[in-house]
Amino acid sequence: MKARIRVTLKNGVLDPQGKAIENALGGLGIPGVAEVRQGKYFEVDLKETDEAKAKATVEKMCKDLLANTVIENYAFELVKA
């Protein structure tokens, strides 16, 4: 089973890197960009085959390490590998 995990900054948390990318897109002449927020994406291969157990494991890894919940949210989906 594979976990696809997205970690994104919470609303209201300043994202200077996203802002710099936003400005760079403007500099490239790409129109219509209102805002850019940068996040992280992880793929984790799990040996677990039970979906409920896998979900609990991924929740724990997100809370304990992959996301800092002071500033970040996380979301994930489990897919058959």
Binding site: L14, P16, Q17, A20, L65, N68, V70, I71
Partner: protein, 230 residues
């Protein structure tokens, strides 16, 4: 005073810290490798600056889960004073010993310059030899020093006197221009409720000799020595 300096892969300020502790306390500090599981009996634990684990994932995030950190947390809860400077501050936040997080500098640039710090709390274990409101010259060297916490947490820190240092200008004004990295409310250093765990971005250990441009950091270590060994 027996001090232990924790060394992670990528730590690079441990010898500056060791030199400083030797100069101020007269006793050599012990370097403790992150893979150890227990810190020998210590009066002070220091998490020095550097780039532990290459700043992978988030600054301080990997180091916060190193084997030795379980003992750092245990000893901190038991009352052993802990000082975290720069990357050490980031690790203290990631490990939950201090609230908030250090984000990328608002300018996106690595900052290497001298700054003025306003001493906001002179009654912690680390600041008793300063005066409240005094300005201290120290050195910043970081890319991720932009302190962030939600407003509730910030209000609580202010209310409890846990904001220890703020970036200020040479006249002591806490302004946006003097804010080195975009930190919320110009915060440069905070402590735990008992004032025994201090995290700060600027380097007091690099402001202990006139040849280095400032000696204002020396009293931070003298405060600790006086409190711990009299």
């Amino acid at each position: 005073m027996k001090a232990s300096i924790i060394v992670f892969p990528g730590t690079n300020r441990e010898h500056d810290m060791a030199d400083c502790l030797l100069a101020v306390s007269g006793k050599p500090a012990r370097l403790v490798w992150h893979a150890e599981t227990e810190i020998p009996q210590s009066d002070l634990i220091v998490l020095p600056g550097g780039f532990s684990y290459g700043d992978y994932l988030r600054t301080g995030a990997m180091a916060a889960h190193s084997p030795i950190m379980r003992d750092v947390i245990k000893k901190a809860h038991a009352g052993v004073p802990v000082l975290g400077v720069c990357n050490g501050f980031q690790i203290l936040c990631e490990s939950g010993l201090l609230p908030g997080v250090l984000q990328r500098n608002a300018s996106l640039k690595f900052i290497c310059k001298d700054v003025w710090l306003k001493v906001e709390n002179a009654s912690t274990l680390f600041t008793s030899k300063y005066q409240k409101g005094e300005l201290a010259r120290m050195i910043c060297a970081h890319g991720d020093g932009n302190y962030f916490a939600d407003n509730t947490t910030l209000d609580q820190l202010e209310h409890d006197g846990r904001v220890v240092f703020r970036y200020a200008d040479a006249q002591g004004r806490v302004t946006a221009e003097a804010n080195a990295n975009g930190a919320q409310r110009n915060i440069a250093g905070i402590c735990d409720p008992k004032g025994r765990i201090l995290g700060m971005m600027p380097h007091p250990e690099n402001a202990v000799e006139a040849a280095l441009g400032s000696t204002d950091g020396r009293r931070l270590f003298e405060s600790v020595v006086e409190a711990l060994v009299g």
